[in-house]
């Protein structure tokens, strides 16, 4: 019962009600979600299917490739920035200290603070996928494999959120993790072009990003309807990466909270 009430508070009161109070921002959010889909659709049309098919080695168009990439990369980039941004906001507003004065463990506080980011990104994901459908993408979805991959992907995102949030608690200004994930999604994350076109040394960096493997598996699950058996490699690596992100995230979060409580910088920004 307490969990649901707190989720309501963090998602509806603190998340949704504050978000919609900035009406212009909401409109800009929707625009920023939709424009890239059209952008890559027209890029796909420009280059045609032949060159991309060789690189993708799959039976779907570049538009489909890019749309799935854009739809799900939001969790990796903006969800990470959302938690860090949320913590920074709470520091600036002065509410973080009151949240920490409540009988909520640091992990719980971080978890609840993360949920709104997931909600917003889910709205953007569905919006983008629907626009893709409108542009002619044929989704062949295997529900089980899609669900499993999403679960593992979200687990890794939670870990990344924790790392990002912990960094902001410590450094206060700037968010190097968000900068990294933004660069990662644009260049290294298998989002709008396959990583096979990258030089080897950059591809090696791509391999440690959960985004790379998640998108690979999600395209198989949602564009080709493939089962879990055909994505065993992706799943194993995702399990390892998710576990690593989560462990690092938990350790860093506990360290960050301990540090700010000791230094007395909870109310500072």
């Amino acid at each position: 019962m307490g969990v649901i009430d707190r989720l309501y508070s963090f998602v509806v009161i603190r998340g949704f009600k504050v978000w919609v109070s900035y009406r212009t921002q909401v409109a800009l959010n929707f625009i920023s979600w939709t424009i890239p889909v059209f952008l890559y659709y027209f890029i796909g049309l420009t280059f045609g299917a032949g060159r991309m098919a060789a690189a993708i080695a799959a039976n779907y168009s570049y538009t489909a490739f890019a749309t799935v990439g854009i739809a799900f990369q939001g969790y990796f980039s903006s969800a990470v920035a959302t938690l860090a941004g949320r913590i920074r906001n709470e520091e600036l507003i002065g509410t973080l200290e009151y949240q920490m004065a409540a009988p909520l463990k640091p992990m719980s506080l971080m978890f609840y603070s993360t949920v709104w980011g997931f909600v917003v990104n889910s709205i953007s994901t569905v919006t983008i996928l629907l626009i893709g459908y409108g542009l002619g993408i044929k989704y062949i979805i295997n529900p089980l494999s899609t669900f499993v991959i999403l679960l593992l992907y979200m687990a890794s995102i939670i870990g990344l959120n924790l790392i990002s949030g912990a960094v902001v608690l410590i450094v206060k200004q700037g968010n190097p993790v968000a900068l990294f994930t933004s660069v990662a999604t644009n260049i290294l994350g298998n989002v709008v072009f396959p990583i096979s076109v990258l030089p080897t040394w950059l591809r090696d960096i791509s391999y440690v990003l959960s985004l790379t493997w998640s998108l690979d598996a999600l395209r198989k699950a949602m564009l080709a309807g493939e089962g879990l058996g055909s994505m065993t490699n992706d799943i194993v690596i995702l399990v390892i990466l998710s576990a690593a992100y989560l462990i690092i995230g938990v350790l860093l979060t506990n360290y960050a909270f301990r540090r700010i409580l000791k230094q007395g910088t909870v109310h500072m920004y």
């Binding site: 002065g94 509410t95 949240q99 409540a102 409580l261």
Partner: protein, 299 residues
Amino acid sequence: MPVAVEFINVTKRFGKLTAVENINLKVNDGEVVALVGPNGAGKTTLLRMAAGVLLPDAGKVLIHGIEAHRAEAKWHVGFMTPMDRGVYWRISALDNLVFFGTLYGLSIREAKSRGMELLKVFGLVDRAKDWVATYSTGMMRRLELARAMMHDPDILLLDEPTSGIDVDGKNMILEHIRRLKGSKTIIMASHDPQEIELADRVVYLNRNIVDTLPALKIVKVLVKGSLPPLDGYRIVNLGDSTYVIYTRIDGFDELMRRLTSMDGNLKIVDLNVEVAVAERNARIAERVNRRERGGWEWA
């Protein structure tokens, strides 16, 4: 009497600066304690440690025997700082209270009900659904106090609760604190005589505890007429047969008895109660105590 809050050999440093050193202080259940001292004396530091948002470098802070930073201790504590931030401006006052109420385990329904009840107590019920951004500073302070009380804590930590607000708002908060006396343990950091006079005990702080005394009130009695010698009281002659007689509040009844039993045409014109010494800072208290052990230097 059970101890609600206890500071045991507490020291806190921020870099090279020592905020508080070797503090030992017990606050009993139902007691109201005012922490008084100059800026930088460590009052807010002590409150933050008791609220569990700051860890001591040495010693322990206990809430009903549990270390203050543990979740189990925080259920007992309501905390209010003098900042006018700490609430969400772009949602309503009621939504703010519901949000913070659920952090303390209240259901949405309970939090709404409790929130409306507190908004009524603090005269904000007509503005419950308005954005906090439309509130005055005084209204925000009242909302913050309501927020501290959402989970009905038995311990309130109030840092300058009436600082920077209008007279009506101040009186409302003071009246509420007065009503809570005896039923809640309250620790207040304060510079304000009206806040301090609510205290059962005043702790004079300047990194260490300088002194601990009851809140001292002075009554000034303005009389006109023929005043015979009156031992044991400080008397200031204003001329034209007008005098001001100073007494501690515990000597007021005796003074009145003596004045009313006097012959002659002596009229009591006016009375004024002040909180002595608490209006000054702890450095003065330090000098006073060194110079005059066991007594007070009159204001």
